[in-house]
Subunit: 275 residues, 2 copies
Amino acid sequence: MTQASLFNQIKTKASFLCVGLDVDLDKIPPHLLKEEDPIFSFAKAVIDATHPYAVAYKPNLAFFEAYGLQGWNAFKKVIDYLNAHYPDHFTIADAKRGDIGNTAGRYAKSFYEYYGVDAVTVAPYMGRDAVEPFLAFEGKHAILLALTSNTGAGDFQYTEEKGHLLYEKVLKTSLGWENADRLMYVVGATKAEALLSIRKIIPNAFLLVPGVGAQGGSLEEVIQNGMNSQCGLLVNSSRGIIYASRGSNFAEAAALEAKTLQTQMAEHLKLSGLI
Amino acid sequence: MTQASLFNQIKTKASFLCVGLDVDLDKIPPHLLKEEDPIFSFAKAVIDATHPYAVAYKPNLAFFEAYGLQGWNAFKKVIDYLNAHYPDHFTIADAKRGDIGNTAGRYAKSFYEYYGVDAVTVAPYMGRDAVEPFLAFEGKHAILLALTSNTGAGDFQYTEEKGHLLYEKVLKTSLGWENADRLMYVVGATKAEALLSIRKIIPNAFLLVPGVGAQGGSLEEVIQNGMNSQCGLLVNSSRGIIYASRGSNFAEAAALEAKTLQTQMAEHLKLSGLI
Protein backbone atom coordinates (compact mmCIF):
# COMPACT_ATOMS: atom_id res chain seq x y z
CA MET A 1 0.00 0.00 0.00
CA THR A 2 1.34 3.46 -0.86
CA GLN A 3 1.39 6.28 1.66
CA ALA A 4 -1.19 8.12 -0.48
CA SER A 5 -3.57 5.14 -0.20
CA LEU A 6 -2.97 5.01 3.52
CA PHE A 7 -3.91 8.70 3.80
CA ASN A 8 -7.06 8.00 1.78
CA GLN A 9 -7.99 5.25 4.21
CA ILE A 10 -7.40 7.60 7.11
CA LYS A 11 -9.80 10.12 5.56
CA THR A 12 -12.40 7.48 4.69
CA LYS A 13 -12.41 5.95 8.18
CA ALA A 14 -11.74 9.21 10.05
CA SER A 15 -9.16 7.24 11.99
CA PHE A 16 -5.41 6.75 12.22
CA LEU A 17 -5.67 3.95 14.74
CA CYS A 18 -3.39 0.94 14.56
CA VAL A 19 -4.46 -2.03 16.68
CA GLY A 20 -1.51 -3.92 18.12
CA LEU A 21 -2.05 -7.68 18.10
CA ASP A 22 0.10 -8.82 21.03
CA VAL A 23 -1.67 -12.13 21.49
CA ASP A 24 -0.80 -13.68 24.84
CA LEU A 25 -2.50 -16.98 25.70
CA ASP A 26 -2.25 -16.06 29.39
CA LYS A 27 -4.38 -12.98 28.82
CA ILE A 28 -7.01 -13.94 26.27
CA PRO A 29 -10.48 -15.02 27.40
CA PRO A 30 -10.09 -18.52 28.85
CA HIS A 31 -13.00 -19.94 26.83
CA LEU A 32 -10.97 -19.44 23.63
CA LEU A 33 -8.28 -21.85 24.81
CA LYS A 34 -10.59 -24.71 23.79
CA GLU A 35 -10.45 -23.62 20.14
CA GLU A 36 -8.16 -25.42 17.70
CA ASP A 37 -6.07 -22.29 17.12
CA PRO A 38 -6.75 -19.91 20.04
CA ILE A 39 -4.21 -17.32 18.82
CA PHE A 40 -5.90 -16.95 15.46
CA SER A 41 -9.42 -17.19 16.89
CA PHE A 42 -8.69 -14.34 19.28
CA ALA A 43 -7.00 -12.17 16.64
CA LYS A 44 -9.80 -12.81 14.12
CA ALA A 45 -12.50 -11.83 16.61
CA VAL A 46 -10.63 -8.65 17.55
CA ILE A 47 -10.12 -7.75 13.88
CA ASP A 48 -13.76 -8.41 12.96
CA ALA A 49 -14.92 -6.21 15.83
CA THR A 50 -12.45 -3.33 15.47
CA HIS A 51 -11.96 -3.01 11.70
CA PRO A 52 -14.43 -0.13 11.22
CA TYR A 53 -12.38 1.99 13.64
CA ALA A 54 -8.83 1.09 12.62
CA VAL A 55 -6.71 1.65 9.52
CA ALA A 56 -3.85 -0.66 10.49
CA TYR A 57 -3.04 -3.84 12.40
CA LYS A 58 0.32 -4.60 13.96
CA PRO A 59 0.99 -8.16 15.08
CA ASN A 60 4.05 -8.19 17.33
CA LEU A 61 6.12 -11.12 16.14
CA ALA A 62 7.59 -11.87 19.55
CA PHE A 63 4.21 -12.97 20.83
CA PHE A 64 3.67 -15.25 17.84
CA GLU A 65 7.25 -16.58 17.84
CA ALA A 66 6.94 -17.46 21.52
CA TYR A 67 4.52 -20.22 20.49
CA GLY A 68 6.91 -21.77 17.99
CA LEU A 69 5.56 -23.22 14.77
CA GLN A 70 1.98 -22.90 16.03
CA GLY A 71 2.60 -19.17 16.52
CA TRP A 72 4.12 -18.66 13.05
CA ASN A 73 1.25 -20.54 11.54
CA ALA A 74 -1.19 -18.29 13.40
CA PHE A 75 0.71 -15.19 12.23
CA LYS A 76 0.39 -16.32 8.62
CA LYS A 77 -3.32 -16.99 9.09
CA VAL A 78 -3.83 -13.53 10.63
CA ILE A 79 -2.16 -11.76 7.70
CA ASP A 80 -3.95 -13.98 5.17
CA TYR A 81 -7.24 -13.19 6.88
CA LEU A 82 -6.57 -9.45 6.84
CA ASN A 83 -5.51 -9.49 3.19
CA ALA A 84 -8.55 -11.55 2.17
CA HIS A 85 -11.25 -9.75 4.16
CA TYR A 86 -9.88 -6.28 4.88
CA PRO A 87 -7.40 -5.53 2.08
CA ASP A 88 -7.67 -1.77 2.72
CA HIS A 89 -6.05 -2.13 6.13
CA PHE A 90 -2.33 -1.50 6.43
CA THR A 91 -0.47 -4.47 7.96
CA ILE A 92 2.71 -4.12 10.00
CA ALA A 93 4.92 -6.99 11.10
CA ASP A 94 6.40 -5.60 14.31
CA ALA A 95 9.56 -7.64 14.04
CA LYS A 96 12.31 -5.07 14.73
CA ARG A 97 14.66 -6.93 12.43
CA GLY A 98 18.18 -5.74 11.70
CA ASP A 99 20.82 -7.75 9.91
CA ILE A 100 23.37 -7.21 7.16
CA GLY A 101 22.77 -6.97 3.42
CA ASN A 102 22.12 -10.44 2.08
CA THR A 103 20.45 -11.46 5.33
CA ALA A 104 18.24 -8.37 5.53
CA GLY A 105 17.11 -9.12 2.00
CA ARG A 106 16.00 -12.56 3.15
CA TYR A 107 13.94 -11.08 5.96
CA ALA A 108 12.36 -8.51 3.66
CA LYS A 109 11.41 -11.15 1.10
CA SER A 110 9.93 -13.35 3.81
CA PHE A 111 7.75 -10.66 5.38
CA TYR A 112 6.66 -8.87 2.21
CA GLU A 113 6.25 -11.80 -0.15
CA TYR A 114 5.72 -14.96 1.89
CA TYR A 115 3.57 -13.42 4.63
CA GLY A 116 2.35 -10.46 2.57
CA VAL A 117 2.54 -7.55 5.04
CA ASP A 118 2.78 -3.89 4.00
CA ALA A 119 5.50 -2.91 6.44
CA VAL A 120 8.13 -4.26 8.82
CA THR A 121 9.71 -2.53 11.81
CA VAL A 122 13.50 -2.43 11.49
CA ALA A 123 16.33 -1.57 13.91
CA PRO A 124 18.94 1.03 12.84
CA TYR A 125 22.06 -0.05 14.79
CA MET A 126 23.73 -1.84 11.87
CA GLY A 127 23.19 1.07 9.50
CA ARG A 128 22.33 1.53 5.84
CA ASP A 129 22.87 -1.99 4.52
CA ALA A 130 20.62 -3.43 7.23
CA VAL A 131 17.70 -1.22 6.17
CA GLU A 132 17.91 -0.56 2.42
CA PRO A 133 16.94 -4.14 1.51
CA PHE A 134 13.61 -3.45 3.24
CA LEU A 135 13.09 -0.41 0.98
CA ALA A 136 13.54 -2.23 -2.31
CA PHE A 137 9.90 -3.32 -2.69
CA GLU A 138 7.33 -1.02 -4.25
CA GLY A 139 4.41 -0.22 -1.99
CA LYS A 140 6.20 -1.75 1.01
CA HIS A 141 7.66 0.15 3.94
CA ALA A 142 10.41 -0.19 6.50
CA ILE A 143 9.45 1.43 9.79
CA LEU A 144 12.73 2.42 11.41
CA LEU A 145 13.11 2.57 15.19
CA ALA A 146 13.98 6.16 16.05
CA LEU A 147 12.88 7.11 19.58
CA THR A 148 11.21 4.23 21.35
CA SER A 149 8.69 4.34 24.17
CA ASN A 150 10.46 2.07 26.66
CA THR A 151 12.57 3.09 29.67
CA GLY A 152 15.77 1.69 28.12
CA ALA A 153 15.39 4.15 25.21
CA GLY A 154 17.52 6.54 27.27
CA ASP A 155 20.52 4.21 27.34
CA PHE A 156 21.70 4.91 23.79
CA GLN A 157 19.11 6.86 21.78
CA TYR A 158 20.07 10.16 23.46
CA THR A 159 23.81 9.71 22.83
CA GLU A 160 24.92 13.23 21.94
CA GLU A 161 27.34 14.00 19.13
CA LYS A 162 28.10 17.65 18.34
CA GLY A 163 24.80 18.79 19.80
CA HIS A 164 22.71 16.17 18.01
CA LEU A 165 21.13 13.12 19.59
CA LEU A 166 21.52 9.62 18.17
CA TYR A 167 17.85 9.29 17.21
CA GLU A 168 18.11 12.60 15.32
CA LYS A 169 21.20 11.26 13.53
CA VAL A 170 19.25 8.11 12.64
CA LEU A 171 16.48 10.25 11.12
CA LYS A 172 18.88 12.53 9.19
CA THR A 173 21.15 9.75 7.95
CA SER A 174 18.25 7.60 6.78
CA LEU A 175 17.03 10.40 4.49
CA GLY A 176 20.07 9.71 2.29
CA TRP A 177 19.31 6.02 1.81
CA GLU A 178 17.95 4.57 -1.41
CA ASN A 179 14.14 4.68 -1.60
CA ALA A 180 14.05 6.73 1.61
CA ASP A 181 10.54 7.83 0.62
CA ARG A 182 9.39 4.35 1.65
CA LEU A 183 10.62 4.88 5.22
CA MET A 184 8.37 5.41 8.21
CA TYR A 185 9.60 5.82 11.80
CA VAL A 186 8.75 4.59 15.28
CA VAL A 187 8.44 7.41 17.83
CA GLY A 188 7.00 6.53 21.21
CA ALA A 189 4.02 8.51 22.52
CA THR A 190 5.84 8.75 25.84
CA LYS A 191 8.33 11.03 24.03
CA ALA A 192 5.67 13.31 22.48
CA GLU A 193 7.64 16.47 23.38
CA ALA A 194 10.38 15.35 20.97
CA LEU A 195 7.93 15.23 18.06
CA LEU A 196 8.32 18.94 17.33
CA SER A 197 12.05 18.64 16.59
CA ILE A 198 11.50 15.29 14.86
CA ARG A 199 8.99 16.88 12.48
CA LYS A 200 11.64 19.47 11.51
CA ILE A 201 13.87 16.64 10.27
CA ILE A 202 11.18 14.45 8.71
CA PRO A 203 8.18 16.69 7.98
CA ASN A 204 6.51 14.26 5.57
CA ALA A 205 7.11 10.73 6.83
CA PHE A 206 4.50 8.63 8.56
CA LEU A 207 5.21 7.92 12.23
CA LEU A 208 4.14 4.77 14.01
CA VAL A 209 3.43 5.88 17.56
CA PRO A 210 3.13 3.22 20.26
CA GLY A 211 2.74 3.94 23.94
CA VAL A 212 -0.68 5.60 24.08
CA GLY A 213 -2.78 4.04 26.82
CA ALA A 214 -1.12 1.37 28.98
CA GLN A 215 2.32 3.02 28.66
CA GLY A 216 0.98 6.47 29.56
CA GLY A 217 1.47 8.51 26.36
CA SER A 218 -1.00 11.30 25.55
CA LEU A 219 -2.95 11.15 22.27
CA GLU A 220 -3.53 14.92 22.41
CA GLU A 221 0.16 15.74 22.65
CA VAL A 222 1.07 13.29 19.89
CA ILE A 223 -1.46 14.92 17.56
CA GLN A 224 -0.49 18.45 18.52
CA ASN A 225 3.23 17.90 17.91
CA GLY A 226 3.26 15.21 15.25
CA MET A 227 0.36 15.55 12.81
CA ASN A 228 1.18 16.82 9.32
CA SER A 229 -0.83 17.69 6.20
CA GLN A 230 -1.19 13.98 5.27
CA CYS A 231 -2.00 13.11 8.91
CA GLY A 232 1.41 11.37 9.10
CA LEU A 233 0.47 9.40 12.19
CA LEU A 234 -0.45 5.84 12.96
CA VAL A 235 -1.20 5.71 16.66
CA ASN A 236 -0.97 2.21 18.06
CA SER A 237 -2.84 0.78 21.00
CA SER A 238 -2.46 -2.87 21.93
CA ARG A 239 -3.33 -3.96 25.45
CA GLY A 240 -5.81 -1.11 26.03
CA ILE A 241 -7.96 -2.46 23.19
CA ILE A 242 -7.42 -6.20 22.90
CA TYR A 243 -7.54 -6.94 26.62
CA ALA A 244 -10.36 -4.54 27.47
CA SER A 245 -12.33 -7.56 28.74
CA ARG A 246 -11.50 -11.21 29.44
CA GLY A 247 -15.14 -12.19 29.33
CA SER A 248 -17.18 -13.53 26.44
CA ASN A 249 -17.78 -9.87 25.47
CA PHE A 250 -14.04 -9.30 24.76
CA ALA A 251 -14.60 -8.43 21.10
CA GLU A 252 -17.35 -5.90 21.84
CA ALA A 253 -15.20 -4.40 24.60
CA ALA A 254 -12.28 -4.11 22.16
CA ALA A 255 -14.55 -2.46 19.60
CA LEU A 256 -15.75 0.03 22.21
CA GLU A 257 -12.17 1.01 23.16
CA ALA A 258 -11.20 1.29 19.49
CA LYS A 259 -14.27 3.40 18.79
CA THR A 260 -13.46 5.74 21.69
CA LEU A 261 -9.99 6.38 20.27
CA GLN A 262 -11.37 6.69 16.72
CA THR A 263 -13.91 9.27 17.87
CA GLN A 264 -11.14 11.40 19.39
CA MET A 265 -9.08 10.99 16.23
CA ALA A 266 -12.01 12.01 14.00
CA GLU A 267 -12.45 15.21 16.00
CA HIS A 268 -8.81 16.13 15.51
CA LEU A 269 -8.87 15.28 11.81
CA LYS A 270 -11.88 17.60 11.45
CA LEU A 271 -10.25 20.36 13.49
CA SER A 272 -7.16 20.11 11.30
CA GLY A 273 -9.27 20.33 8.15
CA LEU A 274 -8.05 16.95 6.90
CA ILE A 275 -11.59 15.57 6.66
CA MET B 1 26.07 -24.12 28.65
CA THR B 2 28.24 -22.04 31.00
CA GLN B 3 31.23 -20.07 29.74
CA ALA B 4 33.50 -22.39 31.75
CA SER B 5 32.08 -25.41 29.90
CA LEU B 6 32.55 -23.59 26.62
CA PHE B 7 36.22 -22.97 27.47
CA ASN B 8 36.60 -26.66 28.34
CA GLN B 9 35.20 -27.59 24.94
CA ILE B 10 37.63 -25.17 23.27
CA LYS B 11 40.53 -26.88 25.07
CA THR B 12 39.26 -30.39 24.30
CA LYS B 13 38.75 -29.70 20.60
CA ALA B 14 41.65 -27.26 20.22
CA SER B 15 39.24 -25.05 18.34
CA PHE B 16 37.17 -21.93 18.80
CA LEU B 17 35.44 -22.25 15.47
CA CYS B 18 31.76 -21.43 15.07
CA VAL B 19 30.18 -22.67 11.84
CA GLY B 20 27.54 -20.29 10.52
CA LEU B 21 24.54 -22.12 9.08
CA ASP B 22 23.25 -19.61 6.50
CA VAL B 23 21.31 -22.16 4.49
CA ASP B 24 20.37 -20.75 1.09
CA LEU B 25 18.49 -23.09 -1.26
CA ASP B 26 20.01 -21.21 -4.22
CA LYS B 27 23.51 -22.14 -3.07
CA ILE B 28 23.29 -25.67 -1.71
CA PRO B 29 24.21 -28.63 -3.92
CA PRO B 30 21.34 -29.04 -6.40
CA HIS B 31 20.99 -32.77 -5.76
CA LEU B 32 19.76 -32.00 -2.21
CA LEU B 33 16.72 -30.14 -3.53
CA LYS B 34 15.08 -33.51 -4.18
CA GLU B 35 15.11 -34.33 -0.46
CA GLU B 36 11.97 -33.90 1.62
CA ASP B 37 13.58 -31.16 3.75
CA PRO B 38 16.59 -29.84 1.82
CA ILE B 39 17.40 -27.17 4.44
CA PHE B 40 17.71 -29.71 7.23
CA SER B 41 19.44 -32.32 5.03
CA PHE B 42 22.11 -29.80 4.08
CA ALA B 43 22.61 -28.52 7.64
CA LYS B 44 22.75 -32.05 9.03
CA ALA B 45 25.40 -33.14 6.52
CA VAL B 46 27.49 -30.05 7.24
CA ILE B 47 27.20 -30.61 11.00
CA ASP B 48 28.07 -34.32 10.78
CA ALA B 49 31.15 -33.47 8.71
CA THR B 50 32.43 -30.45 10.63
CA HIS B 51 31.61 -31.28 14.27
CA PRO B 52 35.12 -32.51 15.18
CA TYR B 53 36.56 -29.11 14.23
CA ALA B 54 33.93 -26.76 15.63
CA VAL B 55 32.74 -25.85 19.12
CA ALA B 56 29.67 -23.89 18.06
CA TYR B 57 26.99 -23.65 15.38
CA LYS B 58 25.18 -20.47 14.48
CA PRO B 59 22.06 -20.77 12.32
CA ASN B 60 21.16 -17.34 10.97
CA LEU B 61 17.43 -17.03 11.47
CA ALA B 62 16.89 -14.81 8.45
CA PHE B 63 17.76 -17.65 6.12
CA PHE B 64 15.37 -20.00 7.87
CA GLU B 65 12.60 -17.41 8.22
CA ALA B 66 12.83 -16.68 4.50
CA TYR B 67 11.31 -20.11 3.87
CA GLY B 68 8.34 -19.52 6.13
CA LEU B 69 6.95 -22.37 8.21
CA GLN B 70 9.14 -24.87 6.37
CA GLY B 71 12.18 -22.82 7.41
CA TRP B 72 11.14 -22.58 11.07
CA ASN B 73 10.47 -26.27 11.13
CA ALA B 74 13.95 -26.89 9.70
CA PHE B 75 15.49 -24.57 12.30
CA LYS B 76 13.83 -26.55 15.09
CA LYS B 77 15.05 -29.81 13.56
CA VAL B 78 18.61 -28.45 13.30
CA ILE B 79 18.71 -27.44 16.97
CA ASP B 80 17.03 -30.69 18.06
CA TYR B 81 19.61 -32.62 16.03
CA LEU B 82 22.51 -30.72 17.57
CA ASN B 83 21.16 -31.13 21.10
CA ALA B 84 20.54 -34.85 20.59
CA HIS B 85 23.77 -35.80 18.81
CA TYR B 86 26.30 -33.11 19.73
CA PRO B 87 25.19 -31.72 23.10
CA ASP B 88 28.68 -30.38 23.82
CA HIS B 89 28.41 -27.88 20.97
CA PHE B 90 27.33 -24.35 21.77
CA THR B 91 24.27 -23.26 19.77
CA ILE B 92 23.59 -19.67 18.76
CA ALA B 93 20.37 -18.38 17.24
CA ASP B 94 21.63 -15.46 15.17
CA ALA B 95 18.37 -13.58 15.40
CA LYS B 96 19.50 -10.04 16.33
CA ARG B 97 16.29 -9.51 18.28
CA GLY B 98 15.54 -6.33 20.18
CA ASP B 99 12.20 -5.43 21.68
CA ILE B 100 10.89 -4.03 24.94
CA GLY B 101 10.52 -5.78 28.27
CA ASN B 102 7.52 -8.10 28.09
CA THR B 103 8.15 -8.75 24.40
CA ALA B 104 11.86 -9.46 24.82
CA GLY B 105 10.94 -11.96 27.49
CA ARG B 106 8.74 -13.75 24.96
CA TYR B 107 11.58 -13.97 22.47
CA ALA B 108 13.99 -15.24 25.12
CA LYS B 109 11.56 -17.93 26.27
CA SER B 110 10.96 -19.03 22.69
CA PHE B 111 14.62 -19.36 21.74
CA TYR B 112 15.94 -20.80 25.01
CA GLU B 113 13.06 -23.04 25.99
CA TYR B 114 11.06 -23.93 22.89
CA TYR B 115 13.97 -24.22 20.47
CA GLY B 116 16.63 -24.93 23.12
CA VAL B 117 19.59 -22.83 21.99
CA ASP B 118 22.40 -21.69 24.29
CA ALA B 119 22.55 -18.11 23.05
CA VAL B 120 20.72 -15.48 21.01
CA THR B 121 22.19 -12.42 19.29
CA VAL B 122 20.48 -9.23 20.48
CA ALA B 123 20.48 -5.61 19.25
CA PRO B 124 21.29 -2.83 21.74
CA TYR B 125 19.39 0.18 20.30
CA MET B 126 16.40 -0.08 22.68
CA GLY B 127 18.62 -0.36 25.77
CA ARG B 128 18.57 -2.25 29.03
CA ASP B 129 15.00 -3.52 29.09
CA ALA B 130 15.39 -5.01 25.62
CA VAL B 131 18.39 -7.09 26.69
CA GLU B 132 18.00 -8.03 30.37
CA PRO B 133 15.16 -10.50 29.69
CA PHE B 134 17.67 -12.49 27.61
CA LEU B 135 20.01 -12.64 30.63
CA ALA B 136 17.49 -14.11 33.05
CA PHE B 137 18.11 -17.76 32.17
CA GLU B 138 20.92 -19.71 33.84
CA GLY B 139 23.45 -21.13 31.41
CA LYS B 140 21.99 -19.04 28.55
CA HIS B 141 23.65 -16.05 26.92
CA ALA B 142 22.68 -12.88 25.10
CA ILE B 143 25.26 -11.94 22.49
CA LEU B 144 24.98 -8.18 22.12
CA LEU B 145 25.80 -6.43 18.85
CA ALA B 146 28.69 -4.07 19.56
CA LEU B 147 30.82 -3.40 16.48
CA THR B 148 29.50 -5.24 13.45
CA SER B 149 31.41 -6.36 10.36
CA ASN B 150 29.20 -4.75 7.68
CA THR B 151 29.81 -1.48 5.84
CA GLY B 152 26.79 0.20 7.45
CA ALA B 153 28.43 -0.28 10.87
CA GLY B 154 29.97 3.14 10.36
CA ASP B 155 26.62 4.91 10.15
CA PHE B 156 25.87 4.91 13.87
CA GLN B 157 28.27 2.66 15.80
CA TYR B 158 31.07 5.27 15.68
CA THR B 159 28.82 8.09 16.94
CA GLU B 160 31.16 9.99 19.25
CA GLU B 161 30.05 11.34 22.62
CA LYS B 162 32.66 13.02 24.81
CA GLY B 163 35.51 11.13 23.18
CA HIS B 164 33.79 7.74 23.37
CA LEU B 165 32.24 5.85 20.49
CA LEU B 166 28.73 4.41 20.61
CA TYR B 167 29.89 0.80 20.52
CA GLU B 168 32.18 1.53 23.48
CA LYS B 169 29.23 3.06 25.31
CA VAL B 170 27.20 -0.08 24.55
CA LEU B 171 29.94 -2.24 26.07
CA LYS B 172 30.38 -0.06 29.17
CA THR B 173 26.68 0.45 29.80
CA SER B 174 25.88 -3.24 29.43
CA LEU B 175 28.31 -4.11 32.24
CA GLY B 176 25.85 -2.53 34.69
CA TRP B 177 22.89 -4.67 33.62
CA GLU B 178 21.54 -7.53 35.69
CA ASN B 179 23.32 -10.83 35.03
CA ALA B 180 25.87 -9.03 32.84
CA ASP B 181 28.18 -12.00 33.34
CA ARG B 182 25.94 -13.87 30.89
CA LEU B 183 26.66 -11.34 28.13
CA MET B 184 28.81 -12.00 25.11
CA TYR B 185 29.41 -9.50 22.28
CA VAL B 186 29.55 -9.42 18.50
CA VAL B 187 32.70 -7.75 17.15
CA GLY B 188 33.38 -8.09 13.44
CA ALA B 189 36.74 -9.47 12.29
CA THR B 190 36.86 -6.61 9.79
CA LYS B 191 37.27 -4.32 12.82
CA ALA B 192 40.11 -6.33 14.43
CA GLU B 193 42.13 -3.18 15.20
CA ALA B 194 39.35 -2.10 17.59
CA LEU B 195 39.71 -5.30 19.62
CA LEU B 196 42.55 -3.88 21.72
CA SER B 197 40.45 -1.05 23.12
CA ILE B 198 37.40 -3.35 23.35
CA ARG B 199 39.38 -5.79 25.51
CA LYS B 200 40.17 -2.93 27.92
CA ILE B 201 36.44 -2.49 28.53
CA ILE B 202 35.41 -6.15 28.53
CA PRO B 203 38.55 -8.18 29.32
CA ASN B 204 36.68 -11.36 30.25
CA ALA B 205 33.65 -11.66 27.98
CA PHE B 206 33.42 -14.04 25.06
CA LEU B 207 33.33 -12.37 21.65
CA LEU B 208 31.51 -13.79 18.67
CA VAL B 209 33.60 -12.71 15.70
CA PRO B 210 32.05 -12.95 12.22
CA GLY B 211 33.70 -11.71 9.08
CA VAL B 212 36.74 -14.00 8.78
CA GLY B 213 36.99 -15.37 5.25
CA ALA B 214 34.42 -14.14 2.71
CA GLN B 215 34.19 -10.72 4.38
CA GLY B 216 37.97 -10.27 4.51
CA GLY B 217 38.76 -10.28 8.24
CA SER B 218 42.11 -11.70 9.41
CA LEU B 219 42.11 -14.60 11.87
CA GLU B 220 45.66 -13.72 12.98
CA GLU B 221 44.73 -10.15 13.89
CA VAL B 222 41.59 -11.24 15.71
CA ILE B 223 43.59 -13.67 17.83
CA GLN B 224 46.41 -11.21 18.46
CA ASN B 225 44.11 -8.44 19.65
CA GLY B 226 41.18 -10.33 21.09
CA MET B 227 42.23 -13.58 22.76
CA ASN B 228 42.16 -13.68 26.57
CA SER B 229 43.11 -16.22 29.24
CA GLN B 230 39.87 -18.20 28.65
CA CYS B 231 40.31 -17.89 24.89
CA GLY B 232 37.32 -15.52 24.86
CA LEU B 233 36.75 -15.92 21.14
CA LEU B 234 34.26 -17.73 18.95
CA VAL B 235 35.34 -17.08 15.39
CA ASN B 236 32.56 -17.64 12.91
CA SER B 237 32.85 -18.70 9.32
CA SER B 238 29.74 -19.35 7.24
CA ARG B 239 30.01 -19.22 3.46
CA GLY B 240 33.72 -20.12 3.40
CA ILE B 241 32.89 -23.47 4.99
CA ILE B 242 29.37 -24.46 4.04
CA TYR B 243 29.64 -23.48 0.37
CA ALA B 244 33.19 -24.74 -0.17
CA SER B 245 31.77 -27.05 -2.85
CA ARG B 246 28.41 -27.41 -4.60
CA GLY B 247 29.22 -30.95 -5.71
CA SER B 248 28.31 -34.22 -4.04
CA ASN B 249 31.51 -33.78 -1.98
CA PHE B 250 30.14 -30.63 -0.27
CA ALA B 251 30.30 -32.10 3.21
CA GLU B 252 33.90 -33.28 2.83
CA ALA B 253 34.85 -29.90 1.37
CA ALA B 254 33.20 -28.16 4.33
CA ALA B 255 35.08 -30.43 6.73
CA LEU B 256 38.37 -29.61 4.99
CA GLU B 257 37.80 -25.85 5.30
CA ALA B 258 36.75 -26.25 8.94
CA LYS B 259 39.81 -28.39 9.64
CA THR B 260 42.11 -25.79 8.06
CA LEU B 261 40.75 -23.10 10.36
CA GLN B 262 40.84 -25.44 13.36
CA THR B 263 44.50 -26.28 12.68
CA GLN B 264 45.39 -22.59 12.71
CA MET B 265 43.39 -22.10 15.88
CA ALA B 266 45.09 -25.06 17.58
CA GLU B 267 48.51 -23.55 16.85
CA HIS B 268 47.53 -20.27 18.46
CA LEU B 269 45.97 -21.97 21.47
CA LYS B 270 49.26 -23.85 21.95
CA LEU B 271 51.36 -20.71 21.47
CA SER B 272 49.21 -18.96 24.08
CA GLY B 273 49.66 -21.82 26.51
CA LEU B 274 45.92 -22.44 26.70
CA ILE B 275 46.28 -26.07 25.60
